[in-house]
Symmetry: C2
Subunit: 309 residues, 2 copies
Protein backbone atom coordinates (compact mmCIF):
# COMPACT_ATOMS: atom_id res chain seq x y z
CA UNK A 1 0.00 0.00 0.00
CA UNK A 2 1.31 3.37 -1.01
CA UNK A 3 -0.34 4.83 2.03
CA UNK A 4 2.35 3.90 4.57
CA UNK A 5 4.65 6.55 3.09
CA UNK A 6 2.08 9.09 1.93
CA UNK A 7 2.40 12.64 3.21
CA UNK A 8 -0.50 14.24 1.32
CA UNK A 9 -2.61 13.97 -1.78
CA UNK A 10 -2.49 16.71 -4.41
CA UNK A 11 -5.18 17.41 -6.99
CA UNK A 12 -5.14 19.62 -10.07
CA UNK A 13 -8.86 20.00 -10.69
CA UNK A 14 -9.58 21.78 -13.96
CA UNK A 15 -12.69 22.45 -15.98
CA UNK A 16 -12.59 19.25 -17.99
CA UNK A 17 -10.01 17.04 -16.27
CA UNK A 18 -8.65 16.21 -12.85
CA UNK A 19 -5.33 14.71 -11.86
CA UNK A 20 -4.48 13.33 -8.45
CA UNK A 21 -1.16 12.30 -6.90
CA UNK A 22 -0.19 10.63 -3.65
CA UNK A 23 3.04 12.32 -2.56
CA UNK A 24 5.68 11.31 -0.07
CA UNK A 25 7.45 13.69 2.29
CA UNK A 26 9.96 14.69 -0.37
CA UNK A 27 7.32 15.33 -3.03
CA UNK A 28 7.96 12.03 -4.77
CA UNK A 29 5.01 10.42 -6.55
CA UNK A 30 3.77 7.25 -4.87
CA UNK A 31 0.75 6.83 -7.12
CA UNK A 32 -1.39 8.89 -9.44
CA UNK A 33 -4.71 8.99 -11.23
CA UNK A 34 -6.20 11.16 -13.91
CA UNK A 35 -9.74 11.32 -15.28
CA UNK A 36 -12.21 13.34 -17.28
CA UNK A 37 -14.16 14.16 -14.12
CA UNK A 38 -13.36 17.87 -14.30
CA UNK A 39 -15.31 20.62 -12.60
CA UNK A 40 -18.09 20.39 -15.20
CA UNK A 41 -18.62 16.69 -14.60
CA UNK A 42 -18.62 17.17 -10.81
CA UNK A 43 -21.23 19.89 -10.55
CA UNK A 44 -23.10 20.49 -8.40
CA UNK A 45 -21.91 18.20 -5.60
CA UNK A 46 -19.90 15.23 -6.78
CA UNK A 47 -16.45 16.62 -5.93
CA UNK A 48 -16.02 14.77 -2.65
CA UNK A 49 -17.33 11.42 -3.85
CA UNK A 50 -15.15 11.57 -6.99
CA UNK A 51 -12.11 12.44 -4.88
CA UNK A 52 -12.78 9.74 -2.30
CA UNK A 53 -13.25 7.09 -4.98
CA UNK A 54 -9.86 7.91 -6.49
CA UNK A 55 -8.17 8.06 -3.08
CA UNK A 56 -9.70 4.71 -2.13
CA UNK A 57 -8.53 3.26 -5.43
CA UNK A 58 -4.99 4.29 -4.53
CA UNK A 59 -5.29 2.94 -0.97
CA UNK A 60 -4.98 6.34 0.72
CA UNK A 61 -5.56 6.48 4.46
CA UNK A 62 -8.87 8.09 5.51
CA UNK A 63 -7.06 10.92 7.27
CA UNK A 64 -4.59 11.77 4.48
CA UNK A 65 -4.86 15.50 3.87
CA UNK A 66 -5.53 16.84 0.38
CA UNK A 67 -4.55 20.07 -1.33
CA UNK A 68 -6.44 21.14 -4.46
CA UNK A 69 -5.68 23.69 -7.18
CA UNK A 70 -7.80 24.86 -10.09
CA UNK A 71 -11.42 25.36 -11.01
CA UNK A 72 -12.70 23.37 -8.02
CA UNK A 73 -12.15 26.68 -6.18
CA UNK A 74 -14.23 28.76 -8.59
CA UNK A 75 -17.53 30.33 -7.62
CA UNK A 76 -20.04 27.57 -8.18
CA UNK A 77 -17.31 24.90 -7.95
CA UNK A 78 -16.67 22.81 -4.84
CA UNK A 79 -15.85 25.69 -2.49
CA UNK A 80 -15.02 29.17 -3.63
CA UNK A 81 -11.47 30.21 -2.82
CA UNK A 82 -11.45 33.97 -3.35
CA UNK A 83 -8.88 35.37 -5.74
CA UNK A 84 -5.63 36.80 -4.50
CA UNK A 85 -4.84 40.09 -6.21
CA UNK A 86 -1.72 40.92 -8.14
CA UNK A 87 0.99 41.35 -7.04
CA UNK A 88 0.63 37.93 -5.38
CA UNK A 89 3.27 35.99 -3.47
CA UNK A 90 3.37 32.55 -5.07
CA UNK A 91 5.03 30.90 -2.08
CA UNK A 92 2.10 31.95 0.12
CA UNK A 93 -0.91 30.48 -1.66
CA UNK A 94 -1.51 28.29 1.41
CA UNK A 95 -2.30 31.38 3.51
CA UNK A 96 -5.47 31.86 1.48
CA UNK A 97 -6.46 28.25 0.99
CA UNK A 98 -10.04 27.49 2.01
CA UNK A 99 -10.85 24.49 4.12
CA UNK A 100 -13.73 22.35 2.85
CA UNK A 101 -15.93 22.27 5.92
CA UNK A 102 -17.90 19.10 6.35
CA UNK A 103 -15.50 16.97 4.34
CA UNK A 104 -14.47 13.65 5.84
CA UNK A 105 -10.78 14.62 5.74
CA UNK A 106 -8.68 17.79 5.72
CA UNK A 107 -9.14 19.28 2.24
CA UNK A 108 -7.72 22.70 1.30
CA UNK A 109 -8.48 24.49 -1.95
CA UNK A 110 -5.97 27.05 -3.21
CA UNK A 111 -7.03 30.50 -4.41
CA UNK A 112 -6.72 31.76 -7.96
CA UNK A 113 -5.28 35.18 -8.75
CA UNK A 114 -7.02 38.20 -10.19
CA UNK A 115 -5.84 41.47 -11.70
CA UNK A 116 -8.11 44.47 -11.27
CA UNK A 117 -6.37 47.07 -13.44
CA UNK A 118 -8.92 48.84 -15.63
CA UNK A 119 -9.08 47.45 -19.15
CA UNK A 120 -6.73 44.63 -18.11
CA UNK A 121 -8.98 42.78 -15.73
CA UNK A 122 -7.99 39.16 -15.66
CA UNK A 123 -8.27 35.95 -13.67
CA UNK A 124 -6.47 32.62 -13.41
CA UNK A 125 -7.15 29.40 -11.49
CA UNK A 126 -4.59 26.61 -11.57
CA UNK A 127 -1.83 28.40 -13.47
CA UNK A 128 -0.78 30.21 -10.26
CA UNK A 129 0.03 26.80 -8.77
CA UNK A 130 2.14 25.86 -11.81
CA UNK A 131 3.95 29.16 -11.36
CA UNK A 132 4.37 28.41 -7.64
CA UNK A 133 6.04 25.16 -8.71
CA UNK A 134 8.41 27.09 -10.94
CA UNK A 135 9.21 29.49 -8.09
CA UNK A 136 9.85 26.53 -5.77
CA UNK A 137 12.27 25.24 -8.42
CA UNK A 138 14.20 28.52 -8.41
CA UNK A 139 12.59 30.40 -11.32
CA UNK A 140 11.57 33.43 -9.29
CA UNK A 141 11.51 36.11 -11.99
CA UNK A 142 10.78 36.37 -15.70
CA UNK A 143 8.05 36.00 -18.28
CA UNK A 144 6.10 32.73 -18.39
CA UNK A 145 3.92 31.47 -21.24
CA UNK A 146 1.21 28.92 -20.42
CA UNK A 147 -0.59 27.98 -23.66
CA UNK A 148 -4.10 26.60 -23.65
CA UNK A 149 -7.75 27.32 -24.32
CA UNK A 150 -7.05 30.56 -22.50
CA UNK A 151 -3.29 31.08 -22.77
CA UNK A 152 -1.69 33.02 -19.95
CA UNK A 153 1.42 35.17 -20.09
CA UNK A 154 2.60 35.92 -16.57
CA UNK A 155 5.29 38.23 -15.30
CA UNK A 156 7.07 37.18 -12.10
CA UNK A 157 9.36 39.33 -9.98
CA UNK A 158 11.14 37.76 -7.00
CA UNK A 159 8.53 35.07 -6.55
CA UNK A 160 5.59 37.43 -6.95
CA UNK A 161 3.09 37.30 -9.79
CA UNK A 162 2.99 40.99 -10.72
CA UNK A 163 0.84 40.96 -13.87
CA UNK A 164 -0.63 38.64 -16.45
CA UNK A 165 -2.67 38.57 -19.63
CA UNK A 166 -5.03 35.91 -20.93
CA UNK A 167 -5.15 35.29 -24.69
CA UNK A 168 -8.20 33.44 -25.99
CA UNK A 169 -6.03 31.68 -28.56
CA UNK A 170 -7.21 28.12 -28.04
CA UNK A 171 -10.86 29.04 -27.74
CA UNK A 172 -10.74 31.20 -30.87
CA UNK A 173 -9.14 28.32 -32.75
CA UNK A 174 -11.94 26.00 -31.64
CA UNK A 175 -14.70 28.54 -32.41
CA UNK A 176 -13.35 29.25 -35.89
CA UNK A 177 -12.77 25.57 -36.55
CA UNK A 178 -16.21 24.44 -35.43
CA UNK A 179 -18.61 27.28 -36.09
CA UNK A 180 -17.21 29.79 -38.61
CA UNK A 181 -17.22 30.14 -42.37
CA UNK A 182 -13.65 28.79 -42.26
CA UNK A 183 -14.93 25.43 -41.06
CA UNK A 184 -15.15 23.72 -44.44
CA UNK A 185 -11.80 25.08 -45.57
CA UNK A 186 -10.04 23.90 -42.42
CA UNK A 187 -11.12 20.33 -43.05
CA UNK A 188 -9.89 17.53 -40.91
CA UNK A 189 -6.16 18.35 -40.74
CA UNK A 190 -4.24 18.65 -37.51
CA UNK A 191 -2.66 22.06 -38.06
CA UNK A 192 0.91 20.79 -37.97
CA UNK A 193 3.34 23.41 -36.72
CA UNK A 194 6.01 21.90 -38.99
CA UNK A 195 4.00 23.08 -42.02
CA UNK A 196 5.46 26.04 -43.90
CA UNK A 197 1.99 27.60 -43.69
CA UNK A 198 2.31 27.75 -39.91
CA UNK A 199 5.66 29.50 -40.05
CA UNK A 200 4.51 31.91 -42.77
CA UNK A 201 1.45 32.84 -40.72
CA UNK A 202 3.52 33.41 -37.57
CA UNK A 203 5.89 35.63 -39.54
CA UNK A 204 2.97 37.64 -40.92
CA UNK A 205 1.59 38.28 -37.47
CA UNK A 206 5.01 39.20 -36.06
CA UNK A 207 5.43 41.69 -38.89
CA UNK A 208 1.90 43.04 -38.64
CA UNK A 209 0.40 42.02 -35.33
CA UNK A 210 -2.51 44.40 -35.63
CA UNK A 211 -4.12 42.60 -38.50
CA UNK A 212 -5.45 39.32 -37.11
CA UNK A 213 -9.13 39.93 -37.83
CA UNK A 214 -8.11 41.08 -41.30
CA UNK A 215 -6.13 37.91 -42.01
CA UNK A 216 -8.49 35.14 -40.96
CA UNK A 217 -10.67 35.42 -44.05
CA UNK A 218 -7.62 34.84 -46.27
CA UNK A 219 -7.92 31.18 -45.26
CA UNK A 220 -11.39 31.02 -46.77
CA UNK A 221 -10.34 33.00 -49.83
CA UNK A 222 -7.38 30.70 -50.46
CA UNK A 223 -9.76 27.77 -50.40
CA UNK A 224 -12.14 29.45 -52.85
CA UNK A 225 -9.30 30.43 -55.15
CA UNK A 226 -8.18 26.79 -54.95
CA UNK A 227 -4.47 27.38 -55.21
CA UNK A 228 -3.55 26.42 -51.65
CA UNK A 229 -3.58 22.84 -50.45
CA UNK A 230 -6.29 22.19 -47.87
CA UNK A 231 -4.02 20.59 -45.20
CA UNK A 232 -2.25 23.90 -44.77
CA UNK A 233 -5.37 25.83 -43.81
CA UNK A 234 -5.46 24.63 -40.23
CA UNK A 235 -1.73 25.25 -39.80
CA UNK A 236 -2.27 28.77 -41.12
CA UNK A 237 -5.05 29.45 -38.64
CA UNK A 238 -2.91 28.10 -35.81
CA UNK A 239 0.03 30.23 -36.94
CA UNK A 240 -2.06 33.39 -37.19
CA UNK A 241 -3.50 32.95 -33.70
CA UNK A 242 -0.28 31.93 -31.97
CA UNK A 243 1.61 34.57 -33.92
CA UNK A 244 -0.86 37.24 -32.78
CA UNK A 245 -0.40 36.11 -29.20
CA UNK A 246 3.38 36.25 -29.36
CA UNK A 247 3.41 39.56 -31.25
CA UNK A 248 1.41 41.12 -28.42
CA UNK A 249 3.09 39.29 -25.55
CA UNK A 250 6.65 40.12 -26.58
CA UNK A 251 5.92 43.70 -25.60
CA UNK A 252 6.09 42.44 -22.00
CA UNK A 253 9.51 40.86 -22.53
CA UNK A 254 12.74 42.51 -21.46
CA UNK A 255 15.35 42.60 -24.18
CA UNK A 256 17.13 39.30 -24.56
CA UNK A 257 15.28 37.66 -21.67
CA UNK A 258 14.29 34.01 -21.78
CA UNK A 259 10.62 32.99 -21.77
CA UNK A 260 9.66 29.99 -19.69
CA UNK A 261 7.20 27.97 -21.76
CA UNK A 262 5.00 25.66 -19.70
CA UNK A 263 3.66 23.25 -22.28
CA UNK A 264 4.05 19.85 -23.88
CA UNK A 265 3.12 17.75 -26.90
CA UNK A 266 2.07 19.27 -30.20
CA UNK A 267 1.01 22.50 -28.48
CA UNK A 268 4.44 22.91 -26.94
CA UNK A 269 6.09 22.30 -30.30
CA UNK A 270 3.89 24.92 -31.96
CA UNK A 271 4.78 27.55 -29.36
CA UNK A 272 8.46 26.61 -29.52
CA UNK A 273 8.42 27.07 -33.29
CA UNK A 274 6.65 30.42 -32.99
CA UNK A 275 8.98 31.68 -30.25
CA UNK A 276 11.97 30.67 -32.38
CA UNK A 277 10.48 32.54 -35.34
CA UNK A 278 10.26 35.61 -33.11
CA UNK A 279 13.90 35.18 -32.02
CA UNK A 280 12.78 34.78 -28.42
CA UNK A 281 14.89 32.49 -26.24
CA UNK A 282 12.88 29.97 -24.25
CA UNK A 283 13.09 27.01 -21.92
CA UNK A 284 10.27 24.46 -21.83
CA UNK A 285 8.89 22.93 -18.64
CA UNK A 286 6.14 20.38 -18.10
CA UNK A 287 2.95 21.86 -16.65
CA UNK A 288 1.91 18.69 -14.87
CA UNK A 289 5.25 18.44 -13.06
CA UNK A 290 5.03 22.08 -12.06
CA UNK A 291 1.53 21.99 -10.67
CA UNK A 292 2.44 18.89 -8.64
CA UNK A 293 5.52 20.68 -7.30
CA UNK A 294 3.45 23.76 -6.53
CA UNK A 295 0.87 21.66 -4.70
CA UNK A 296 3.61 19.85 -2.75
CA UNK A 297 5.21 23.11 -1.69
CA UNK A 298 1.87 24.35 -0.49
CA UNK A 299 1.21 21.09 1.36
CA UNK A 300 4.50 21.34 3.24
CA UNK A 301 3.55 24.87 4.27
CA UNK A 302 0.04 23.78 5.32
CA UNK A 303 1.21 20.74 7.27
CA UNK A 304 4.80 21.50 8.31
CA UNK A 305 4.83 18.68 10.85
CA UNK A 306 4.58 16.27 7.96
CA UNK A 307 2.62 13.11 8.33
CA UNK A 308 4.58 9.96 7.75
CA UNK A 309 8.24 10.91 7.94
CA UNK B 1 -48.54 48.97 -64.07
CA UNK B 2 -44.99 50.01 -63.33
CA UNK B 3 -43.87 48.00 -66.32
CA UNK B 4 -44.66 50.53 -69.03
CA UNK B 5 -41.70 52.63 -67.94
CA UNK B 6 -39.35 49.90 -66.77
CA UNK B 7 -35.91 49.74 -68.32
CA UNK B 8 -34.49 46.80 -66.32
CA UNK B 9 -34.75 44.96 -63.04
CA UNK B 10 -31.82 44.95 -60.65
CA UNK B 11 -31.21 42.39 -57.90
CA UNK B 12 -28.78 42.39 -55.02
CA UNK B 13 -28.75 38.70 -54.13
CA UNK B 14 -26.81 38.01 -50.94
CA UNK B 15 -26.33 35.00 -48.74
CA UNK B 16 -29.33 35.62 -46.51
CA UNK B 17 -31.39 38.30 -48.27
CA UNK B 18 -32.34 39.49 -51.71
CA UNK B 19 -33.54 42.89 -52.87
CA UNK B 20 -35.07 43.65 -56.22
CA UNK B 21 -35.83 46.94 -57.96
CA UNK B 22 -37.65 47.87 -61.16
CA UNK B 23 -35.71 50.79 -62.62
CA UNK B 24 -36.62 53.34 -65.23
CA UNK B 25 -34.24 54.68 -67.88
CA UNK B 26 -32.76 57.23 -65.50
CA UNK B 27 -32.22 54.73 -62.69
CA UNK B 28 -35.30 55.85 -60.78
CA UNK B 29 -37.07 53.25 -58.67
CA UNK B 30 -40.48 52.26 -60.04
CA UNK B 31 -41.03 49.49 -57.52
CA UNK B 32 -39.06 47.28 -55.18
CA UNK B 33 -39.17 44.09 -53.15
CA UNK B 34 -36.97 42.56 -50.51
CA UNK B 35 -37.10 39.15 -48.88
CA UNK B 36 -35.18 36.61 -46.84
CA UNK B 37 -34.84 34.35 -49.89
CA UNK B 38 -31.06 34.73 -50.02
CA UNK B 39 -28.68 32.36 -51.75
CA UNK B 40 -29.01 29.83 -48.94
CA UNK B 41 -32.78 29.67 -49.22
CA UNK B 42 -32.63 29.36 -53.03
CA UNK B 43 -30.23 26.45 -53.29
CA UNK B 44 -30.00 24.35 -55.29
CA UNK B 45 -32.34 25.61 -58.02
CA UNK B 46 -34.98 28.03 -56.79
CA UNK B 47 -33.30 31.22 -58.01
CA UNK B 48 -35.32 31.62 -61.19
CA UNK B 49 -38.69 30.80 -59.64
CA UNK B 50 -38.08 33.16 -56.73
CA UNK B 51 -37.05 35.94 -59.11
CA UNK B 52 -39.99 35.39 -61.45
CA UNK B 53 -42.45 35.41 -58.56
CA UNK B 54 -41.16 38.78 -57.37
CA UNK B 55 -41.10 40.20 -60.92
CA UNK B 56 -44.64 39.01 -61.50
CA UNK B 57 -45.70 40.56 -58.21
CA UNK B 58 -44.37 43.89 -59.46
CA UNK B 59 -46.02 43.50 -62.86
CA UNK B 60 -42.77 43.30 -64.81
CA UNK B 61 -42.98 42.45 -68.51
CA UNK B 62 -41.82 38.92 -69.41
CA UNK B 63 -38.97 40.26 -71.49
CA UNK B 64 -37.64 42.81 -68.99
CA UNK B 65 -33.91 42.15 -68.60
CA UNK B 66 -32.39 41.59 -65.18
CA UNK B 67 -28.94 42.30 -63.78
CA UNK B 68 -27.85 40.53 -60.58
CA UNK B 69 -25.03 41.18 -58.12
CA UNK B 70 -23.86 39.16 -55.14
CA UNK B 71 -23.69 35.59 -53.97
CA UNK B 72 -26.03 34.34 -56.70
CA UNK B 73 -22.84 34.38 -58.80
CA UNK B 74 -20.81 32.24 -56.39
CA UNK B 75 -19.69 28.73 -57.20
CA UNK B 76 -22.67 26.60 -56.24
CA UNK B 77 -25.01 29.59 -56.52
CA UNK B 78 -27.27 30.24 -59.51
CA UNK B 79 -24.52 30.56 -62.12
CA UNK B 80 -20.88 31.04 -61.29
CA UNK B 81 -19.54 34.41 -62.45
CA UNK B 82 -15.76 34.03 -62.20
CA UNK B 83 -13.92 36.62 -60.11
CA UNK B 84 -12.24 39.57 -61.71
CA UNK B 85 -8.77 40.11 -60.32
CA UNK B 86 -7.46 43.24 -58.69
CA UNK B 87 -6.81 45.79 -60.01
CA UNK B 88 -10.37 45.69 -61.40
CA UNK B 89 -12.16 48.40 -63.38
CA UNK B 90 -15.43 48.98 -61.54
CA UNK B 91 -17.11 50.61 -64.55
CA UNK B 92 -16.57 47.45 -66.57
CA UNK B 93 -18.21 44.76 -64.47
CA UNK B 94 -20.69 44.19 -67.32
CA UNK B 95 -17.90 42.91 -69.56
CA UNK B 96 -17.58 39.87 -67.34
CA UNK B 97 -21.24 39.32 -66.51
CA UNK B 98 -22.45 35.79 -67.19
CA UNK B 99 -25.68 35.17 -69.02
CA UNK B 100 -28.01 32.65 -67.37
CA UNK B 101 -28.56 30.25 -70.26
CA UNK B 102 -31.96 28.62 -70.28
CA UNK B 103 -33.63 31.40 -68.34
CA UNK B 104 -36.94 32.68 -69.69
CA UNK B 105 -35.57 36.24 -69.95
CA UNK B 106 -32.21 37.98 -70.31
CA UNK B 107 -30.50 37.60 -66.91
CA UNK B 108 -26.90 38.67 -66.32
CA UNK B 109 -24.95 37.96 -63.15
CA UNK B 110 -22.04 40.23 -62.30
CA UNK B 111 -18.64 38.90 -61.24
CA UNK B 112 -17.08 39.29 -57.82
CA UNK B 113 -13.49 40.41 -57.39
CA UNK B 114 -10.55 38.43 -56.02
CA UNK B 115 -7.08 39.36 -54.86
CA UNK B 116 -4.38 36.72 -55.32
CA UNK B 117 -1.46 38.29 -53.47
CA UNK B 118 0.22 35.73 -51.22
CA UNK B 119 -0.93 35.99 -47.61
CA UNK B 120 -3.54 38.57 -48.63
CA UNK B 121 -5.81 36.36 -50.70
CA UNK B 122 -9.28 37.77 -50.59
CA UNK B 123 -12.65 37.70 -52.34
CA UNK B 124 -15.78 39.84 -52.51
CA UNK B 125 -19.20 39.42 -54.12
CA UNK B 126 -21.67 42.25 -54.02
CA UNK B 127 -19.45 44.92 -52.50
CA UNK B 128 -17.81 45.53 -55.90
CA UNK B 129 -21.21 46.61 -57.21
CA UNK B 130 -21.67 49.03 -54.31
CA UNK B 131 -18.25 50.41 -55.13
CA UNK B 132 -19.25 50.65 -58.79
CA UNK B 133 -22.19 52.75 -57.64
CA UNK B 134 -19.84 55.05 -55.75
CA UNK B 135 -17.61 55.36 -58.82
CA UNK B 136 -20.65 56.17 -60.95
CA UNK B 137 -21.45 58.90 -58.44
CA UNK B 138 -18.00 60.43 -58.82
CA UNK B 139 -16.07 58.83 -55.93
CA UNK B 140 -13.35 57.33 -58.09
CA UNK B 141 -10.47 57.16 -55.58
CA UNK B 142 -9.99 56.68 -51.86
CA UNK B 143 -10.48 54.21 -49.05
CA UNK B 144 -13.92 52.66 -48.55
CA UNK B 145 -15.18 50.85 -45.45
CA UNK B 146 -18.07 48.42 -45.87
CA UNK B 147 -18.93 46.96 -42.43
CA UNK B 148 -20.68 43.63 -42.06
CA UNK B 149 -20.32 39.99 -41.16
CA UNK B 150 -17.18 40.18 -43.27
CA UNK B 151 -16.23 43.86 -43.33
CA UNK B 152 -14.36 45.03 -46.40
CA UNK B 153 -11.88 47.86 -46.65
CA UNK B 154 -11.29 48.69 -50.29
CA UNK B 155 -8.80 50.99 -51.96
CA UNK B 156 -9.89 52.65 -55.19
CA UNK B 157 -7.69 54.54 -57.63
CA UNK B 158 -9.29 56.24 -60.62
CA UNK B 159 -12.27 53.94 -60.67
CA UNK B 160 -10.22 50.79 -60.20
CA UNK B 161 -10.38 48.54 -57.17
CA UNK B 162 -6.68 48.08 -56.51
CA UNK B 163 -6.68 46.18 -53.21
CA UNK B 164 -8.95 45.18 -50.37
CA UNK B 165 -8.99 43.39 -47.02
CA UNK B 166 -11.78 41.46 -45.37
CA UNK B 167 -12.12 41.68 -41.58
CA UNK B 168 -14.17 38.98 -39.91
CA UNK B 169 -15.47 41.51 -37.40
CA UNK B 170 -19.18 40.71 -37.58
CA UNK B 171 -18.68 36.97 -37.64
CA UNK B 172 -16.27 37.06 -34.69
CA UNK B 173 -18.81 39.11 -32.74
CA UNK B 174 -21.49 36.52 -33.46
CA UNK B 175 -19.21 33.57 -32.65
CA UNK B 176 -18.08 35.08 -29.35
CA UNK B 177 -21.61 36.12 -28.48
CA UNK B 178 -23.19 32.77 -29.24
CA UNK B 179 -20.58 30.11 -28.59
CA UNK B 180 -17.74 31.38 -26.37
CA UNK B 181 -17.07 31.60 -22.66
CA UNK B 182 -18.04 35.29 -22.98
CA UNK B 183 -21.62 34.32 -23.81
CA UNK B 184 -23.06 34.53 -20.31
CA UNK B 185 -21.24 37.78 -19.55
CA UNK B 186 -22.49 39.44 -22.74
CA UNK B 187 -26.10 38.85 -21.75
CA UNK B 188 -28.89 40.23 -23.80
CA UNK B 189 -27.70 43.79 -24.34
CA UNK B 190 -27.46 45.44 -27.74
CA UNK B 191 -23.87 46.64 -27.54
CA UNK B 192 -24.76 50.31 -27.82
CA UNK B 193 -22.00 52.35 -29.45
CA UNK B 194 -23.01 55.31 -27.30
CA UNK B 195 -21.81 53.42 -24.19
CA UNK B 196 -18.56 54.66 -22.66
CA UNK B 197 -17.44 51.01 -22.69
CA UNK B 198 -17.56 51.06 -26.50
CA UNK B 199 -15.45 54.17 -26.76
CA UNK B 200 -12.95 52.96 -24.14
CA UNK B 201 -12.53 49.67 -25.99
CA UNK B 202 -12.00 51.43 -29.33
CA UNK B 203 -9.39 53.67 -27.72
CA UNK B 204 -7.58 50.65 -26.26
CA UNK B 205 -7.38 48.96 -29.63
CA UNK B 206 -6.23 52.12 -31.37
CA UNK B 207 -3.47 52.46 -28.77
CA UNK B 208 -2.53 48.78 -28.82
CA UNK B 209 -3.97 47.18 -31.93
CA UNK B 210 -1.92 44.04 -31.57
CA UNK B 211 -3.63 42.85 -28.46
CA UNK B 212 -7.16 41.84 -29.49
CA UNK B 213 -6.88 38.17 -28.52
CA UNK B 214 -5.35 39.29 -25.24
CA UNK B 215 -8.21 41.67 -24.48
CA UNK B 216 -11.30 39.57 -25.13
CA UNK B 217 -11.01 37.61 -21.90
CA UNK B 218 -11.06 40.84 -19.90
CA UNK B 219 -14.81 40.89 -20.61
CA UNK B 220 -15.23 37.58 -18.83
CA UNK B 221 -12.89 38.61 -16.01
CA UNK B 222 -14.80 41.85 -15.44
CA UNK B 223 -17.98 39.82 -15.10
CA UNK B 224 -16.37 37.45 -12.60
CA UNK B 225 -14.91 40.32 -10.60
CA UNK B 226 -18.40 41.82 -10.63
CA UNK B 227 -17.41 45.45 -10.73
CA UNK B 228 -18.56 46.22 -14.26
CA UNK B 229 -22.21 46.48 -15.19
CA UNK B 230 -23.36 43.72 -17.50
CA UNK B 231 -24.92 45.97 -20.22
CA UNK B 232 -21.46 47.31 -21.04
CA UNK B 233 -19.97 43.93 -21.86
CA UNK B 234 -21.44 43.73 -25.34
CA UNK B 235 -20.47 47.31 -26.09
CA UNK B 236 -16.92 46.49 -24.99
CA UNK B 237 -16.76 43.47 -27.31
CA UNK B 238 -18.11 45.53 -30.18
CA UNK B 239 -15.58 48.28 -29.45
CA UNK B 240 -12.65 45.87 -29.27
CA UNK B 241 -13.53 44.23 -32.58
CA UNK B 242 -14.33 47.43 -34.49
CA UNK B 243 -11.34 49.13 -32.88
CA UNK B 244 -9.06 46.30 -34.00
CA UNK B 245 -10.43 46.62 -37.53
CA UNK B 246 -9.86 50.36 -37.69
CA UNK B 247 -6.43 50.14 -36.04
CA UNK B 248 -5.33 47.78 -38.81
CA UNK B 249 -7.17 49.45 -41.67
CA UNK B 250 -5.89 52.96 -40.98
CA UNK B 251 -2.49 51.75 -42.16
CA UNK B 252 -4.02 51.81 -45.65
CA UNK B 253 -5.16 55.41 -45.28
CA UNK B 254 -3.28 58.34 -46.72
CA UNK B 255 -2.70 61.11 -44.21
CA UNK B 256 -5.75 63.27 -43.75
CA UNK B 257 -7.78 61.43 -46.35
CA UNK B 258 -11.52 60.87 -45.93
CA UNK B 259 -12.90 57.35 -45.58
CA UNK B 260 -16.15 56.59 -47.35
CA UNK B 261 -18.26 54.54 -44.97
CA UNK B 262 -20.94 52.47 -46.66
CA UNK B 263 -23.28 51.60 -43.82
CA UNK B 264 -26.48 52.48 -42.03
CA UNK B 265 -28.40 52.03 -38.80
CA UNK B 266 -26.74 51.04 -35.53
CA UNK B 267 -23.82 49.51 -37.39
CA UNK B 268 -23.16 52.73 -39.23
CA UNK B 269 -23.31 54.70 -35.98
CA UNK B 270 -20.81 52.35 -34.33
CA UNK B 271 -18.33 52.74 -37.18
CA UNK B 272 -18.85 56.49 -37.26
CA UNK B 273 -18.10 56.67 -33.52
CA UNK B 274 -15.00 54.52 -33.92
CA UNK B 275 -13.71 56.48 -36.93
CA UNK B 276 -14.22 59.71 -34.99
CA UNK B 277 -12.29 58.24 -32.05
CA UNK B 278 -9.44 57.52 -34.46
CA UNK B 279 -9.58 61.09 -35.82
CA UNK B 280 -10.39 59.76 -39.27
CA UNK B 281 -12.60 61.97 -41.45
CA UNK B 282 -15.47 60.10 -43.08
CA UNK B 283 -18.55 60.48 -45.22
CA UNK B 284 -21.40 57.97 -44.90
CA UNK B 285 -23.32 56.55 -47.85
CA UNK B 286 -26.18 54.08 -47.99
CA UNK B 287 -25.17 50.66 -49.28
CA UNK B 288 -28.55 49.84 -50.74
CA UNK B 289 -28.59 53.04 -52.79
CA UNK B 290 -25.08 52.34 -54.03
CA UNK B 291 -25.67 48.78 -55.12
CA UNK B 292 -28.78 49.89 -57.00
CA UNK B 293 -26.80 52.64 -58.70
CA UNK B 294 -24.03 50.19 -59.51
CA UNK B 295 -26.52 47.75 -60.97
CA UNK B 296 -28.18 50.51 -62.99
CA UNK B 297 -24.85 51.66 -64.41
CA UNK B 298 -24.08 48.12 -65.43
CA UNK B 299 -27.54 47.71 -66.97
CA UNK B 300 -27.08 50.80 -69.12
CA UNK B 301 -23.76 49.38 -70.33
CA UNK B 302 -25.30 45.97 -71.01
CA UNK B 303 -28.34 47.33 -72.83
CA UNK B 304 -27.29 50.73 -74.20
CA UNK B 305 -30.28 50.86 -76.55
CA UNK B 306 -32.49 51.10 -73.49
CA UNK B 307 -35.87 49.51 -73.52
CA UNK B 308 -38.73 51.82 -72.96
CA UNK B 309 -37.42 55.32 -73.40
Amino acid sequence: MADTQAFAAAIDWGTTNMRLWLLDGEGGVLAERSSGEGMRACMPDRFESVMEAHLAGLGAAPDLPVVVAGMAGARGGWREAAYLETPARLDALHLNAVCVDGAARDVRILPGVCQRERGRKDVMRGEETQLAGAVAGGLRSGLFCLPGTHSKWAKLEEGRLVSFTTFMTGELFALLNQHSILRDTLGEGAGDAASPAFRDAVDEMLADGAGLTGKLFSIRAAGLLADDAAPDAKARLSGLLIGAEIAAARQMLDNGATVTLIAGGAQGQAYEAALAAADIAYRTLDGSDLVRQGLFGTATALWPEGKAI
